[in-house]
């Protein structure tokens, strides 16, 4: 009798339990991939700025505002005076623009919520990627279509790709397959000190 129970335990119960554990782990792992890597993160911003309107509808170049992207490691978020270059006149009557004007007049910086971030010990360089011909969309997704995705105008921009080391190396190792339109692209560096220093 005892022997039967033991047999039953090992031959039936244990595999079922293991199966359930493995499957639930795999499913959780798969389902939580986006959650873990911050994909879909869309924080509420202080001003309802629409990338769709500026970069999409009006077709303003990304670099009109993100001026550092070709020259520097960081793309840089535009200073308020860049916004005011147009909005001193344009749409000055809208409430969001008035909010912006108020920041400008009070000489206060705008506290934008950060959407994309690589850890402190990784030194990502915008300039080298953009100057090699990579488009902003390749990592940041179709920003020109990002607008009030969930009906909240303050949540206008979000993260679409993973920014883990695995994602970096995925492109660096398979540069040619990933970017067939850039024939002169070299394989990205894989040595540690390309990013860590």
């Amino acid at each position: 009798m005892k022997k039967f129970l033991l047999d039953y335990g090992i031959k039936v119960r244990l595999p079922i339990i293991l199966f359930v554990i493995i499957v639930s782990f795999a499913v959780t792992y798969y389902v939580s991939y986006a959650e873990r890597n911050g994909i879909g993160y869309q924080p509420e911003q202080p001003i309802a700025f629409s990338h769709k309107m500026h970069a999409g509808d009006m077709n303003i170049d990304c670099q009109y505002c993100h001026i550092g992207v070709e020259k520097s490691r960081v793309a840089s978020v535009p200073a308020v005076n860049v916004c005011m270059g147009c909005h001193a006149i344009s749409r000055a009557d809208k409430p969001e623009i008035q909010k912006l004007t108020q920041y400008y007049n009070e000489n206060k910086p705008l506290p934008w919520k950060r959407v994309h971030r690589v850890p402190d010990f990784a030194y990502f360089n915008h300039s080298v990627h953009v100057n090699k011909g990579l488009a902003c969309e390749d990592c940041h997704g179709e920003v020109q279509n990002m607008d009030t995705l969930r009906g909240n105008p303050f949540k206008s921009i979000g993260q679409v790709s993973s920014f883990t080391m695995g994602s970096c190396l995925d492109c660096h190792r398979n540069a040619h397959e990933k970017f067939p339109n850039l024939p002169n692209l070299n394989r990205g560096p894989e040595n540690c000190n390309a990013c860590h220093r």
Partner: protein, 1056 residues
């Protein structure tokens, strides 16, 4: 894998050490005939040193922490607190995905691009040289100081103090608010009261004394003059602890003027330094080093110069000399006159041989007798005389700033006799805007203070309470002064005794103009707005001069501009309108002007004939020295400088009485024992440091230590030797004879890095471990007759390259590959590279207790080896840093692959992967890896390095390492990546010579070359191919990428 490891060890034994062991005796004798030693412990095989060699980590560094010093909190309680705080933190966080804010500028300055540095030219005010500097800023905050390449004197280089002075700007202990009687007050209140005091002192005929350091600024001089008009009883006193006064006085007596011309050291074939540390701690060392190193260039066809040093102390100059003659400092004058006698009376060199006033003085001196009396080697003296005679007009005799006037006059005469005045620059001479106060003037001030005749004393960024001789009894005298005002950046001994303590701007927040030489002005501009409620010291005076004018940040700027527009701009004859002209010179940091320096007058023989003679005694001599770290004490609160090893003794965080081995054994003391030094009525107790090469009966003590009020870092470091200074010295203020020295009970541990990280390990190699060719040297003669002599010696050592060891991954390095060359002929061992590296790479200060247990973190170690006898050692310097070996032994022992090799030949370190096993350091043959035993920023002095605003100092391109991480030199990977970024942006190839490492940029001797070794046209490739190139520990065949150029000594006989 195991098989592979076995193979490599076999291979090394077959080709390397085994082969050497067989005929080690032979090789010792023939090939590398020298024993190098770094300390007495090593020379005499002390067990401590053997341990240091045998064990990578010393017993102390492995010690368990002292439990009594730990927190008494129990484990249960700790866990309870932890879980409570974790629960609180979890409850407090609304969104775990939150990534914080991106705070953009409201109005971004046009010139700022986030992530890219901006550079501003300014001037350093750390000493009387006023070197031009170029300050690197990131997003508006200064992060690094280098020399200004456009500046005619500094030419892009700056000394250790200038490099590290950036830390003073961010010193968390800077004074932030004006204080009156130690209570905070407002500027308006303080100014109003002080002006009232000034007015009442002025009207009641009481003196107003302004005590400043040397005045180098034309605008400040004008301001002081105007101040004296407003307050007629005001007097200006200026002093420097380290000054050139005896030299200037001698120049005045010899030539009728006080301004000494600049020297064309680069044209010198023979240099004779008399107790002169012109490469080390005397004014103008940056230019001197640059010019001197040009005469030691193996890449040019020019002949090497020959440097003779005659000295009692052991200085950087002396240790770099080809011939170093050890002589009591008070016998140097006699030595010079003996040489003069030899040249003028015997050899009849120059017209002075007919001048009876000179010859009669000389006749009573005889070099042979002199040499016999002081046991000098007559051969090298004759060599000196022959060289001086042969190179008339191409030599220079330099007398040190501690020597008295009479010696300087004799040295001037010697230069005249030899026609060496040709090397005095006709274009540039030193300018003295305002002579320093004489001791008589300072005594008069002191007496007046004691009598109550002084109403107001203003310490104009000076610290006389600490600096002045105890003879003045200055602290007592201050009590009799009604109002004492100290303008200072940080707390000081003088500020402690002052009613008003007014915080002033850092030099990086200040405006200024400086005139130190003819031919140019240096400009100083603020790099950052004042961090606190401070004002520029000149602006404060300006405000007191005319209180009606409201203060604003720009008043002194306006004042300088006005002065320039009215008085200086017309001199330039510039075609540009003034505004444009002003902005141009501010941008350049220097304004060149066409000025003729007055020609030197004729030498007055009377000055020589009439001057009194320094008499050589037989008692102990005390020399009070400058140093390359804290200076006269003003850098005491700078931890980087306190921890910078002394170039010769390698001591940190202390001063001491240096004694020769002979003198130490006579008194019966050893290093770390305490002695009392008595000079007349003055006494001080110091620890002893036994210094090889010091003249017997010479005691060397460094000034600037022993501050009693210098904040958390500087207070109580070392012993105050200023108390030995006399206000009426028999010789000079920093040179005394008739000193007594007695042993007193007790010991004091001096921290020294000289035995740390020794490169020798295998006990099998015991007999030849010092002869492994770590330092290779030859003579210039040898090199000239056979340029390949060094390689031929190498051949006998069987240093053929081996086949690729199988455990290493194959790399072919087809693209660019980084390498460094260090020319040991140029390197003087000054330590500028170490400081530059500290600033660039965010290297923490660890503190004296940690240095004692071998845990200093500096990535460059400047090894100093002695060879020969303890009495007269020869010294070799060698900067040692990560060698980025092609077959790096550290890489294949790392269990977590945190250290790897890149395709451009770098040995990379991924901090976030390191778990701190320290295997890599254990396996590193060069001992260049540094381990963070603590988060040293947190561990040192109540985590002062984490205090605001010191975090702003960090270079944002380099990770700040935490506890448990191994680190080492990266070849400034951040600068390499910047060049790669620029190359991609400009669509070109990476150009190796565009990358300058921080140490290379700082080296005043241009001894460090860096670049792409695959670019055959580059400088680095040429250095690697040079006949004198070698790498350290070649026989272990790890193929290092740092190449050393063997030092050539310009001596005649083969040095033994």
């Amino acid at each position: 894998m195991d098989k592979g490891k076995l193979n490599i060890s076999n291979m090394i034994i077959e080709n390397g050490p085994e082969a050497k062991r067989e005929d080690s005796e032979d090789l010792v004798e023939q090939a590398l005939n020298k024993t190098y030693w770094r300390s007495f412990k090593e020379l005499y095989n002390d067990p401590d040193f053997k341990d240091a060699v045998k064990y990578e980590f010393t017993k102390e560094s492995e010690e368990k922490p002292d439990l009594s010093k730990l927190s008494g909190i129990s484990r249960r309680r700790f866990l309870a607190l932890m879980s409570a705080s974790a629960a609180l933190a979890a409850a407090g966080c609304s969104n775990y995905k939150d990534k914080g804010l991106v705070i953009a500028y409201n109005q971004k300055p046009e010139e700022v691009v986030l992530g890219l540095p901006n550079y501003y030219a300014s001037a350093c005010t750390g000493c009387g040289s006023a070197c031009g500097i170029l300050v690197k800023t990131r997003e508006g905050r200064p992060i690094k100081i280098d020399g200004n390449p456009d500046h005619p004197v500094s030419k892009g280089k700056i000394c250790t103090k200038g490099q590290a002075s950036i830390m003073n700007l961010y010193n968390p202990e800077r004074l932030r608010e004006p204080m009156f009687n130690k209570l905070q007050t407002s500027w308006d209140e303080a100014n109003k009261n002080i002006v009232n005091e000034l007015k009442s002192a002025s009207s009641s005929g009481k003196e107003i004394a302004i005590i400043t350091h040397s005045v180098l600024s034309p605008s400040l001089k004008k301001l002081l003059d105007e101040f004296k008009v407003t307050y007629p009883t005001a007097k200006i006193y200026s002093y420097e602890v380290f000054n050139d006064t005896p030299k200037q006085n001698a120049w005045f007596k010899s030539y009728g003027k006080r301004t000494i011309p600049a020297l064309q050291l680069d044209k010198a074939k023979v240099i004779l330094a008399l107790e002169s540390d012109f490469l080390g701690n005397e004014l103008n060392q940056i230019e001197n080093t640059r010019l001197y190193s040009q005469t030691r260039d193996v890449m040019s066809k020019n002949e090497f110069s020959r440097l003779y040093a005659v000295e009692g102390a052991v200085t950087l100059t002396g240790t770099n000399a080809d011939y170093r003659i050890r002589l009591r400092t008070d016998a140097i004058e006699e030595f010079v006159i003996c040489i003069l006698n030899e040249l003028v009376n015997r050899k009849k060199v120059s017209a002075f041989a007919a001048d009876s006033r000179v010859t009669s003085v000389l006749a009573s001196y005889n070099l042979n007798d002199f040499a016999a009396k002081y046991y000098l080697d007559l051969k090298s003296l004759n060599q000196l005389i022959e060289d001086l005679t042969k190179h008339q007009g191409e030599g220079i005799i330099l007398a040190g700033d501690k020597l008295p006037e009479s010696t300087h006059i004799a040295a001037n005469l010697l230069n005249e006799v030899l026609g060496n005045t040709k090397l005095y620059s006709s274009e540039s001479e030193n300018v003295e805007l305002m002579p320093l106060s004489t001791n008589d003037e300072l005594s008069a001030l002191d007496d007046n203070m004691q009598k109550g005749g002084v109403g107001v004393v203003i310490h104009f960024d000076t610290n006389p309470v600490f600096h002045f001789s105890p003879d003045y009894n200055y602290a007592e005298a201050l009590k009799k002064v009604h109002t004492v005002v100290t303008l200072t950046e940080e707390i000081s001994e003088s500020a402690e005794l002052s009613g008003y303590v007014l915080p002033i701007n850092d030099p990086l927040e200040s405006w200024g103009d400086f005139k130190t030489r003819t031919g140019f002005y240096s400009l100083q501009q603020p790099i950052i707005a004042p961090l606190y409620n401070t004002r520029q010291k000149e602006a404060i005076l300006l405000n007191w001069k005319d209180l009606e004018k409201p203060y604003n940040e720009k008043i002194y700027n306006d004042y300088i501009r006005e002065n320039w527009e009215k008085n200086l701009y017309p001199v330039f004859g510039s075609l540009a309108p003034f505004n444009k002209f002003w902005l141009t010179i501010l941008h350049d940091g220097v304004a060149l002007v066409n000025e003729k320096s007055e020609s030197a007058g004729t030498f007055s023989t009377g000055a020589f004939a009439e001057s009194s003679r320094m008499k050589a005694g037989s008692d102990f001599i005390v020399l009070l020295q400058n140093n390359n770290s804290v200076g006269d004490g003003r850098f005491a609160s700078n931890g980087w400088l306190q921890e910078l090893p002394n170039p010769i003794t390698k001591t940190v965080w202390d001063n001491y009485a240096a004694l020769s081995p002979q003198a130490a054994s006579e008194i019966g003391v050893n290093s770390n024992d305490l002695v009392e030094i008595t000079l007349g009525s003055k006494k001080q107790t110091l620890p002893v440091f036994v210094q090889p090469g010091l003249a017997d009966k010479v005691i060397e003590i460094s000034l600037g230590y022993g501050r009693t009020a210098a904040g958390a870092v500087g207070t109580g470091v070392g012993v105050n030797a200023n108390v030995l200074i006399s206000k009426a010295p028999a010789i000079t203020e920093r040179f005394y004879n008739n000193a007594q020295i007695t042993k007193v009970s007790g010991t004091y541990e001096i921290a020294s890095t000289q035995e740390h990280y020794p490169i020798d390990s295998d006990p099998l190699l015991k007999d030849i471990q010092y002869k492994r060719g770590i330092i290779r040297e030859g003579t210039y003669e040898e090199y000239k007759t056979n340029p390949k002599f060094l390689k031929e010696k190498e051949g006998r050592l069987n240093l053929q390259p081996i086949n690729k060891p199988p455990v290493y991954e194959s790399k072919d390095y087809t693209g660019y590959k980084w390498g460094m060359a260090i020319d040991l002929n140029k390197c003087t061992g000054c330590g500028a590279c170490i400081t530059a590296c500290n600033v660039e790479n965010n290297i923490p200060i660890v503190g004296k207790d940690q240095v004692i247990v071998n845990r200093e973190m500096m990535w460059i170690r400047l090894d100093r080896y002695y060879s020969g006898t303890p009495d007269a050692p020869k010294t070799s310097y060698q900067p040692m840093l990560c060698q980025h070996c092609d077959y790096a032994p550290c890489e294949n022992v790392c269990p977590v692959v945190a250290t790897t090799h890149s395709n451009d030949g770098l040995n990379a370190m991924a901090y976030n992967r390191c778990v701190g096993t320290r295997y890599c350091s254990n396996n590193c043959p060069y001992k260049v890896r540094r381990f963070n035993y603590f988060d040293f920023r947190d561990h040192f002095r109540d985590s002062i390095q984490y205090a605001e605003p010191l975090d702003l100092l960090a270079n944002p391109e380099v990770t700040v390492r935490s506890r448990g991480i191994m680190e080492k030199c990266t070849f400034c990977i951040q600068r390499i990546m910047k060049e790669r970024q620029d190359a991609i942006q400009e669509n070109r190839k990476v150009i190796g010579s565009n990358v300058k490492t921080a140490c290379q940029e700082a080296c005043p001797a241009y001894a460090i070359v860096f670049g792409d070794v695959n670019d055959k046209e580059s400088e680095i490739a040429k250095y690697r191919e040079h006949e004198l190139a070698y790498s350290v520990l070649e026989e272990i065949k790890v193929l290092p990428n740092v190449t050393y150029i063997a030092k050539l000594r310009n001596v005649l006989e083969e040095s033994k």
